[in-house]
Symmetry: C2
Subunit: 248 residues, 2 copies
């Protein structure tokens, strides 16, 4: 199944027709190499992107070269809708691995949603999740120690990757250099290195050639104060949201 579909299904039940309606966007794919800018600060865009495979980062540079990564984008994520609305991008998005993406125009997107309201609800949900991730990122960088920050990020990524079926027995591929982690977490490369080392010495995680294994999930969650609920995965959701109506 396409990662995007897999992800959206975690938010709201989709009819076959919804999935059908999405497929044109899933099949018009484009491969882009690593380290390619997809969205550039200051540029104007009329399209949104869907990532089918590979990783990207959203970041901003300060004049003296300091970089802050806003968030990581993985398979199933989309971005650029904000730039459609706002006309001009206030940050850059770049691939950090080879990736497969497709683009959607604002028109197509509006048409799609009008014809399939459930998809609209699913995208809304997805946007709300993304905002929750941003908020939690602020908490991490503002108030958590380096140790806690790294732990939290590793758990967040595991949860998100799990939504698109890329986690196997608490193990997943993490194609991030320590320098990328540093810029995401507001730390220096050197300190990220030491912190990762400490997490391994403490037997909380294991890292082996870009593969991360969460060795002690419970303790790691405790340390990071990681609340899975903030990602609002609906898997175990019972009740209904007022917005379900949107999707009939």
């Amino acid at each position: 199944m396409f990662p995007l579909v897999s992800k959206l299904k975690h938010f709201i039940a989709l009819a076959d027709s919804d999935v059908q309606a999405l497929s044109p966007f899933m099949t018009a794919r484009r491969s882009v190499p690593s380290n390619t800018d997809l969205l550039q600060e200051g540029q104007t865009y009329g399209v949104a992107f869907i990532i089918h495979d590979g990783w990207a980062v959203r970041y901003r540079l300060l004049p003296d070269g300091r970089r802050q990564i806003i968030n990581f984008l993985i398979a199933g994520d989309s971005f650029g809708l904000g730039s459609i609305i706002l006309n001009i991008a206030d940050h850059t998005v770049a691939t950090i691995t080879p990736a497969v993406v497709s683009t959607v125009t604002a028109e197509d997107l509006l048409t799609l949603i009008r014809a399939n309201p459930k998809l609209g609800a699913a995208f809304l949900w997805s946007a709300a999740q993304e905002e929750a991730i941003l908020r939690e990122h602020i908490v991490s960088v503002g108030r958590r120690t380096a140790y806690e920050r790294v732990a939290h990020l590793l758990l967040e990524l595991m949860t998100r990757l799990d939504m698109v079926g890329r986690v196997d027995d608490r193990q997943y591929e993490l194609p991030l250099s320590q320098s990328l982690l540093a810029d995401a977490l507001g730390l220096s490369v050197v300190h990220v290195n030491r912190t990762l080392r400490r997490l391994q010495n403490d037997r909380l995680i294991r890292i082996d050639s870009r593969q991360i294994h969460i060795a002690d999930l419970e303790q790691l969650k405790e340390i990071a104060d990681f609340k899975r609920s903030f990602l609002h995965v609906a898997k175990d959701r019972r009740g209904s949201s007022p917005l379900d109506r949107l999707g009939r």
Copy 2:
């Protein structure tokens, strides 16, 4: 004019009918005292809030009491839509001054937008601005020094307050204790105090009984790397956005 209307008009031109359609929500007001929770982490809500007057904060507490303020909410801001979508709030919103608010149900909101598509576009725009503020907050807390952070926040607040007509000659009321500033900026109270003092010694700002005066706007912007554009105020916007269509 109501702050919310004033703010939305910065994003998109509203017809009289749009403003008319909004007024029922503007007039059903409720006064709430200072330090009142409007939204509590873990609770379920079916309504969104509009702030007509006063200040509120969105924050999250860590188990040991550390607090991170996600953002400040001022007149014209709304919140809680995310909680409508997600069913459960992952953070708390509380007033920090006496405030005047009103609530909107998801149903009313959907009806309103369906009848006045332009309002839908305006709210989208507003949501996009809010997300941009969150992103910039991550940059601040992750990569800016204390000095730069404080400078940036003061400029952000001035710009936002200006959108609702609460700034007079680079001067505005800032009803925030240093402890609130500290929790927003990821700093200690003591350091916020020293930093504010330094900004005043450097003749960049003046503070006098909760009134902030930006004494040297240009230099402050330089220090903070403040780009007004990230707030996407459309005042001086020429071109059109694909989403203008939404509003006919």
